[in-house]
């Protein structure tokens, strides 16, 4: 593994007798953004704190630009941190907050003023320079926290749930603004989030964690197209992996209740006999109809949630839950017939690959 960029090598972190992170290895090239994504308690914030030097690892290394930081104190790591709640110093003005790291590093007054003025302009905070954090909106506070971390020109910039403290209405605009700001930095950026949209839209590399372990890492597109398992498919894509059997005639799903012709699915016919596979069904992979048709499968509507532009439906087919987005009215408890809307991908089953 190359030691340039950020290298997390076989990292394990314990909290008392509990292993919070186990054997995590990741590499982020210079200038790229890593998003660590996973449900609450999966260990993603612990990874962030360990990179920042606020938590000691039980095993493994953290290397940035070839420099092993594992035993370097947090104050000497050259790592900028934007905590989830921004942790602005409430007794200092916006200018004082941004200036803090430069003062701590002994930067002279003139250089400090120039750097802070530049960052205030960059983050569009110049008119608010003398305000206290309590006088700012959530979005403004986020920009102050970002400017404060960027002021020290860190080699790694860490953002813990950067949009979580904002109103949902603000998040879209702030995400775009944050992307612009991060795009202007030369540092390696690490974002921790439980929001898949943030991860997919903001990162060059996405790492999915569960129960302290890395489940899958890759580019957003790679993960979107080929999630490693049902957890990643569900968490990152809102999709469902359905076990299928591929034979010479069709792809058979749901214990043989649904035979899908090869023309309707992106799958390789086995050279001989039968093979096991997994069909990735995304919410837009299926269309629903009240009537049975060619290539449809009956399904029970377990849950229907109208969200404005569409209805999110949870279907149960042969004991398997499948999410579908439809613009048709659907009633919970009724039976509908699901057919393919596009050409979903059938991946080889992991056990087939292992064999």
């Amino acid at each position: 593994m190359s030691e340039s960029g950020l290298v997390i090598d076989d990292l394990s972190v314990d909290y008392d007798s509990t292993r919070a992170v186990s054997g995590l290895s990741l590499h982020v090239p210079d200038g790229q953004t890593l998003a660590i994504v996973g449900p609450s308690g999966c260990g993603k914030s612990t990874v962030l704190r360990t990179i920042a030097g606020l938590t000691r690892p039980a095993e493994g290394r953290v290397v940035v630009g070839g420099r092993d930081l594992t035993h370097v104190p947090a104050s000497a790591r050259d790592v900028g941190l934007v905590p989830q709640n921004y942790a602005l110093f409430p007794h200092l003005s916006v200018r004082g907050n941004i200036e803090y790291g430069l003062k701590a590093r002994g930067v002279d007054k003139v250089a400090r003023r120039e750097a802070v003025d530049r960052l205030l302009a960059f983050t569009e905070l110049t008119p608010l320079a003398q305000r206290r954090p309590s006088q700012l909106s959530g979005g403004q506070r986020q920009r102050v926290a970002l400017a404060r971390a960027m002021a020290i020109e860190p080699s790694v910039l860490l953002l813990d749930e950067p949009l979580a403290a904002l109103d949902p209405q603000l998040r879209g605009a702030m995400r775009r603004q944050l992307l612009d700001l991060l795009g202007a930095t030369t540092s390696i950026n690490v974002i921790v989030t439980h929001d898949r949209h943030e991860a997919l839209s903001m990162a060059d590399v996405v790492a999915v964690m569960r129960d302290g372990r890395l489940v899958q890492a890759g580019s957003p597109r790679e993960l979107w197209q080929a999630p490693a398992d049902a957890f990643v498919a569900d968490f990152l894509c809102g999709a469902t992996y359905v076990d299928v059997v591929l034979d010479q005639d069709a792809v058979h799903a749901f214990d043989g209740r649904w035979a899908i012709p090869y023309a309707a699915v992106d799958a390789a016919r086995p050279a001989t006999g039968r093979a096991r596979g997994r069909l990735l069904l995304r919410p837009d992979s299926l269309v629903l109809s009240e009537h049975r048709g060619t290539g449809t499968v009956p399904a029970l509507v377990r849950h229907a949630e109208f969200v404005g532009e569409s209805t999110l439906v949870t279907l149960e087919v042969a004991g398997t839950a499948v999410s579908v987005r439809t613009d048709q009215p659907v009633t919970t408890g009724t039976t509908v017939h699901a057919g393919l809307a596009g050409r979903p991908v059938a991946h080889p089953h992991p056990e087939e690959i292992a064999a």
């Binding site: 008392d16 920042a52 030097g53 606020l54 947090a74 104050s75 000497a76 790591r77 050259d78 790592v79 900028g80 941190l81 905590p83 709640n85 942790a87 602005l88 110093f89 409430p90 007794h91 803090y100 790291g101 701590a104 590093r105 206290r132 954090p133 309590s134 700012l136 959530g138 506070r141 926290a145 404060r148 971390a149 002021a151 020290i152 860490l158 403290a165």
Partner: protein, 263 residues
Amino acid sequence: MRGLPDTLGTRMAVGLCVVFVLLPVATSVAVATSVSSARGLWGDGVTLQWLVTGWEQISPTLGRSTAVALGVVAANLVLGGPLAMWLARSPSRLTRAVSFLATLPLAVPGIALSIGLITVYPQLRPSGLLLFLGHVLLTLPFTLAALTPVLADQELQDCENAATTLGAAGWRVLATVTVPFSATALVQVVITAFALSFGEFNISFFINPPAAPMAPFALFDAYSTQRLELASAKTVLFMLCLVPVLALLVAARRTPSTRKARP
């Protein structure tokens, strides 16, 4: 409809304050400035002579009490600060036991505490060190109660972590983040420790050598053996010594809170 109860509550608080605090204080001032209170308030005219005489007699005692109170404040900050930090941040199970032990002096009657200290540490009595330690023992629980929750605040710890990652050394984080964040609690500690020590009677009465009495004992002595006007004058002077501390409290409360940033 919160206005009515609020107004009523405020009026009741002001009324109680007037009846039980301001009225006795005003009476003391009136008696202290009366030539002869036996003929009624300001009977036989108004004078400042009792205050002058009272000052001549009690000023060494007030100076001694002030010095001890300032020392107690310093000890509370030096001992109580780190102890509160340990109680707030340490995962050790000992924190509960120490917290309980530190609070124990509040549950023991002052007389029992004083006699206990004299019995166990008689050699410390003549130097006044036992009095000082007794006051520290009595004020430390208030210091811990004020500082521990603030130092345990996750928001403060997040700010400290942010400062550390920005390159600040431990002492700078303490001076530029922890102390300003805890300023209100620290002012409260200073005021409480000073006022409690300055006005403490039991330990001062039992432990302190009679030749060098503390201010509360001197007041007790004045009311027991001297004219009411002179005792009242000494009381007024005693209360004036607390004015700077109370002014500090008011100033601290008027300063906009620096602790919480609202969304």
